[in-house]
Protein backbone atom coordinates (compact mmCIF):
# COMPACT_ATOMS: atom_id res chain seq x y z
CA UNK A 1 0.00 0.00 0.00
CA UNK A 2 1.68 3.22 -1.17
CA UNK A 3 1.68 6.21 1.17
CA UNK A 4 -0.62 8.22 -1.06
CA UNK A 5 -3.98 7.34 -2.55
CA UNK A 6 -3.47 5.88 -6.03
CA UNK A 7 -6.01 4.81 -8.65
CA UNK A 8 -6.85 1.07 -8.52
CA UNK A 9 -6.78 -0.79 -11.83
CA UNK A 10 -10.54 -1.23 -11.83
CA UNK A 11 -11.19 2.49 -11.34
CA UNK A 12 -8.94 3.97 -14.05
CA UNK A 13 -10.58 6.00 -16.78
CA UNK A 14 -9.53 8.00 -19.84
CA UNK A 15 -5.83 8.64 -20.27
CA UNK A 16 -4.95 6.62 -17.17
CA UNK A 17 -7.05 3.67 -18.39
CA UNK A 18 -4.96 3.66 -21.59
CA UNK A 19 -1.73 3.67 -19.56
CA UNK A 20 -2.88 0.79 -17.38
CA UNK A 21 -4.07 -1.22 -20.41
CA UNK A 22 -0.74 -0.59 -22.17
CA UNK A 23 1.14 -1.69 -19.04
CA UNK A 24 -0.84 -4.93 -18.88
CA UNK A 25 -0.27 -5.70 -22.55
CA UNK A 26 3.42 -4.83 -22.23
CA UNK A 27 4.31 -6.37 -18.87
CA UNK A 28 1.31 -8.53 -17.97
CA UNK A 29 0.48 -6.27 -15.03
CA UNK A 30 0.56 -2.69 -13.76
CA UNK A 31 3.84 -2.23 -11.91
CA UNK A 32 3.79 -0.46 -8.57
CA UNK A 33 5.82 2.43 -9.92
CA UNK A 34 3.23 3.05 -12.68
CA UNK A 35 0.32 2.92 -10.23
CA UNK A 36 2.22 5.30 -7.95
CA UNK A 37 2.12 8.00 -10.63
CA UNK A 38 -1.59 7.49 -11.36
CA UNK A 39 -2.65 10.74 -9.60
CA UNK A 40 -1.17 12.71 -12.52
CA UNK A 41 -1.48 10.85 -15.85
CA UNK A 42 0.32 13.63 -17.80
CA UNK A 43 3.42 13.28 -15.60
CA UNK A 44 3.10 9.49 -15.79
CA UNK A 45 3.07 9.75 -19.60
CA UNK A 46 6.14 12.04 -19.66
CA UNK A 47 8.07 9.87 -17.20
CA UNK A 48 7.30 6.70 -19.16
CA UNK A 49 8.30 8.46 -22.39
CA UNK A 50 11.68 9.42 -20.95
CA UNK A 51 12.12 5.90 -19.60
CA UNK A 52 11.37 4.34 -23.00
CA UNK A 53 13.65 6.76 -24.89
CA UNK A 54 16.54 6.56 -22.41
CA UNK A 55 16.41 2.82 -21.81
CA UNK A 56 15.08 1.33 -25.08
CA UNK A 57 15.67 4.00 -27.75
CA UNK A 58 18.56 4.03 -30.21
CA UNK A 59 21.87 4.62 -28.40
CA UNK A 60 25.54 3.69 -28.68
CA UNK A 61 25.07 2.15 -25.23
CA UNK A 62 23.90 -1.45 -25.28
CA UNK A 63 20.74 -2.40 -23.40
CA UNK A 64 22.86 -4.37 -20.94
CA UNK A 65 25.00 -1.30 -20.21
CA UNK A 66 21.92 0.81 -19.56
CA UNK A 67 20.47 -1.80 -17.18
CA UNK A 68 23.87 -1.98 -15.49
CA UNK A 69 23.71 1.78 -14.85
CA UNK A 70 20.15 1.48 -13.51
CA UNK A 71 21.26 -1.26 -11.12
CA UNK A 72 24.26 0.72 -9.89
CA UNK A 73 22.21 3.90 -9.33
CA UNK A 74 19.56 1.92 -7.44
CA UNK A 75 22.22 0.19 -5.33
CA UNK A 76 24.03 3.43 -4.51
CA UNK A 77 20.71 5.04 -3.54
CA UNK A 78 19.85 2.08 -1.34
CA UNK A 79 16.65 1.61 -3.38
CA UNK A 80 15.10 -1.79 -2.81
CA UNK A 81 12.50 -1.73 -5.63
Amino acid sequence: MAWIRTVPEGAAEGELRRHYDAAVSRAGKVFGIVRLMSPNPAVLEAAMGLYRAAMFGPSPLSRARREMLATVVSRVNGCHY
Partner: protein, 173 residues
Protein backbone atom coordinates in the same frame (compact mmCIF):
# COMPACT_ATOMS: atom_id res chain seq x y z
CA UNK B 1 17.32 -2.41 -7.63
CA UNK B 2 15.83 -5.89 -7.91
CA UNK B 3 13.80 -4.80 -10.94
CA UNK B 4 16.95 -3.78 -12.82
CA UNK B 5 19.12 -6.67 -11.78
CA UNK B 6 16.33 -8.81 -13.26
CA UNK B 7 16.27 -6.77 -16.50
CA UNK B 8 20.05 -7.01 -16.71
CA UNK B 9 19.83 -10.80 -16.46
CA UNK B 10 17.34 -10.88 -19.33
CA UNK B 11 19.72 -8.78 -21.48
CA UNK B 12 22.78 -10.89 -20.69
CA UNK B 13 21.38 -14.41 -20.31
CA UNK B 14 23.25 -17.38 -18.91
CA UNK B 15 25.72 -17.85 -16.09
CA UNK B 16 27.82 -14.83 -17.10
CA UNK B 17 24.83 -12.46 -16.86
CA UNK B 18 23.83 -14.04 -13.57
CA UNK B 19 27.33 -13.60 -12.17
CA UNK B 20 27.61 -9.96 -13.27
CA UNK B 21 24.08 -9.11 -12.08
CA UNK B 22 24.75 -10.57 -8.63
CA UNK B 23 28.06 -8.70 -8.40
CA UNK B 24 26.40 -5.43 -9.46
CA UNK B 25 23.76 -5.76 -6.76
CA UNK B 26 26.49 -6.52 -4.25
CA UNK B 27 29.29 -4.15 -5.33
CA UNK B 28 30.08 -3.11 -8.90
CA UNK B 29 33.78 -2.76 -8.01
CA UNK B 30 34.00 -6.52 -7.64
CA UNK B 31 32.04 -7.27 -10.82
CA UNK B 32 33.94 -8.58 -13.85
CA UNK B 33 33.53 -5.44 -15.99
CA UNK B 34 35.51 -4.04 -18.92
CA UNK B 35 37.14 -0.59 -18.79
CA UNK B 36 34.15 1.24 -20.31
CA UNK B 37 31.67 -0.41 -17.93
CA UNK B 38 33.92 0.39 -15.00
CA UNK B 39 34.18 4.06 -16.02
CA UNK B 40 30.39 4.22 -16.47
CA UNK B 41 29.78 2.74 -13.01
CA UNK B 42 32.25 5.21 -11.49
CA UNK B 43 30.41 8.07 -13.25
CA UNK B 44 27.03 6.75 -12.05
CA UNK B 45 28.20 6.48 -8.46
CA UNK B 46 29.78 9.94 -8.24
CA UNK B 47 26.94 11.70 -10.03
CA UNK B 48 24.45 9.99 -7.71
CA UNK B 49 26.28 10.62 -4.43
CA UNK B 50 28.15 13.88 -5.07
CA UNK B 51 26.55 15.77 -7.97
CA UNK B 52 27.94 19.09 -6.66
CA UNK B 53 31.50 17.71 -6.92
CA UNK B 54 31.30 16.81 -10.63
CA UNK B 55 34.05 18.37 -12.78
CA UNK B 56 34.76 18.35 -16.50
CA UNK B 57 37.75 16.10 -15.74
CA UNK B 58 35.31 13.43 -14.50
CA UNK B 59 34.42 12.73 -18.13
CA UNK B 60 38.02 11.96 -19.09
CA UNK B 61 37.95 8.30 -18.00
CA UNK B 62 34.80 7.83 -20.08
CA UNK B 63 36.47 9.29 -23.19
CA UNK B 64 39.61 7.27 -22.52
CA UNK B 65 37.51 4.11 -22.37
CA UNK B 66 36.32 4.86 -25.91
CA UNK B 67 32.90 6.39 -25.14
CA UNK B 68 31.91 9.34 -27.35
CA UNK B 69 29.86 12.38 -26.34
CA UNK B 70 26.59 10.73 -27.41
CA UNK B 71 27.30 7.68 -25.26
CA UNK B 72 28.28 9.84 -22.29
CA UNK B 73 25.14 11.93 -22.77
CA UNK B 74 22.92 8.85 -22.95
CA UNK B 75 24.55 7.31 -19.88
CA UNK B 76 24.08 10.52 -17.90
CA UNK B 77 20.39 10.67 -18.87
CA UNK B 78 19.92 7.07 -17.67
CA UNK B 79 21.68 7.86 -14.38
CA UNK B 80 19.63 11.03 -13.90
CA UNK B 81 16.35 9.31 -14.79
CA UNK B 82 16.88 6.61 -12.18
CA UNK B 83 17.83 9.12 -9.52
CA UNK B 84 14.55 10.89 -10.33
CA UNK B 85 12.29 7.85 -10.40
CA UNK B 86 13.86 6.36 -7.25
CA UNK B 87 12.94 9.53 -5.40
CA UNK B 88 9.37 9.22 -6.61
CA UNK B 89 9.30 5.56 -5.50
CA UNK B 90 10.98 6.08 -2.13
CA UNK B 91 9.27 9.40 -1.44
CA UNK B 92 5.78 7.97 -1.91
CA UNK B 93 6.23 4.40 -0.66
CA UNK B 94 6.03 2.37 -3.87
CA UNK B 95 4.37 -1.05 -3.56
CA UNK B 96 6.94 -3.81 -4.06
CA UNK B 97 6.18 -6.37 -6.76
CA UNK B 98 5.10 -9.81 -5.49
CA UNK B 99 8.27 -11.48 -6.86
CA UNK B 100 10.62 -9.07 -5.06
CA UNK B 101 12.20 -9.99 -1.75
CA UNK B 102 10.72 -7.97 1.11
CA UNK B 103 12.34 -4.72 2.17
CA UNK B 104 15.04 -5.33 4.73
CA UNK B 105 13.79 -4.30 8.17
CA UNK B 106 16.65 -2.98 10.25
CA UNK B 107 16.68 -4.41 13.78
CA UNK B 108 13.62 -6.51 12.98
CA UNK B 109 14.87 -9.12 15.43
CA UNK B 110 14.74 -6.65 18.31
CA UNK B 111 11.56 -7.09 20.35
CA UNK B 112 12.03 -3.53 21.58
CA UNK B 113 11.70 -2.25 18.03
CA UNK B 114 8.70 -4.46 17.36
CA UNK B 115 7.01 -3.20 20.52
CA UNK B 116 7.68 0.37 19.47
CA UNK B 117 6.25 -0.34 16.02
CA UNK B 118 3.18 -2.02 17.52
CA UNK B 119 2.68 0.90 19.91
CA UNK B 120 2.93 3.33 17.01
CA UNK B 121 0.31 1.28 15.19
CA UNK B 122 -2.06 1.43 18.15
CA UNK B 123 -1.58 5.16 18.48
CA UNK B 124 -2.30 5.73 14.81
CA UNK B 125 -5.12 3.32 14.07
CA UNK B 126 -7.47 4.52 12.88
CA UNK B 127 -6.44 8.05 12.05
CA UNK B 128 -8.72 10.55 10.41
CA UNK B 129 -7.28 12.39 7.43
CA UNK B 130 -8.77 14.82 4.96
CA UNK B 131 -9.20 11.96 2.49
CA UNK B 132 -11.31 9.93 4.89
CA UNK B 133 -10.64 7.29 7.51
CA UNK B 134 -7.40 5.41 7.14
CA UNK B 135 -6.66 2.31 9.14
CA UNK B 136 -3.28 0.88 10.02
CA UNK B 137 -2.97 -2.83 9.32
CA UNK B 138 -0.23 -5.41 9.40
CA UNK B 139 0.71 -6.45 5.91
CA UNK B 140 2.64 -9.59 5.03
CA UNK B 141 5.38 -8.41 2.67
CA UNK B 142 5.50 -11.82 0.99
CA UNK B 143 1.86 -12.34 0.09
CA UNK B 144 0.16 -8.99 0.94
CA UNK B 145 -2.14 -10.68 3.47
CA UNK B 146 -3.61 -8.01 5.78
CA UNK B 147 -4.35 -8.37 9.51
CA UNK B 148 -5.75 -5.83 11.97
CA UNK B 149 -3.08 -3.78 13.72
CA UNK B 150 -3.16 -2.82 17.38
CA UNK B 151 -1.58 -6.05 18.56
CA UNK B 152 1.59 -7.93 17.73
CA UNK B 153 1.79 -9.48 14.28
CA UNK B 154 1.27 -13.27 14.28
CA UNK B 155 4.24 -15.59 14.70
CA UNK B 156 3.63 -16.72 11.13
CA UNK B 157 1.48 -15.41 8.29
CA UNK B 158 -1.81 -17.38 8.30
CA UNK B 159 -1.87 -17.16 4.51
CA UNK B 160 1.67 -18.03 3.40
CA UNK B 161 3.54 -18.99 6.57
CA UNK B 162 6.09 -16.14 6.41
CA UNK B 163 7.70 -15.39 9.79
CA UNK B 164 6.73 -12.42 11.99
CA UNK B 165 9.64 -10.35 10.71
CA UNK B 166 7.94 -10.22 7.29
CA UNK B 167 5.06 -8.09 8.62
CA UNK B 168 5.04 -4.32 8.24
CA UNK B 169 2.54 -1.72 9.41
CA UNK B 170 0.84 -0.04 6.46
CA UNK B 171 -2.09 2.30 5.93
CA UNK B 172 -5.22 0.91 4.41
CA UNK B 173 -8.11 3.11 3.36
Amino acid sequence: MHAHAKDFRSEVPGPEGERVAAALVDDWRRAPLDAADRALCEHAEKLTLRPHAMREADLRPLHEAGLDDRAIHDATQVIAYFNYIIRVADGLGVDLEPDMPPRPRPHAESSETEDAVAAAGEAMAPCITDTGTMTIVWKCLRCNHHLPAGSDPPAACPSCGAPRTEFALVEED
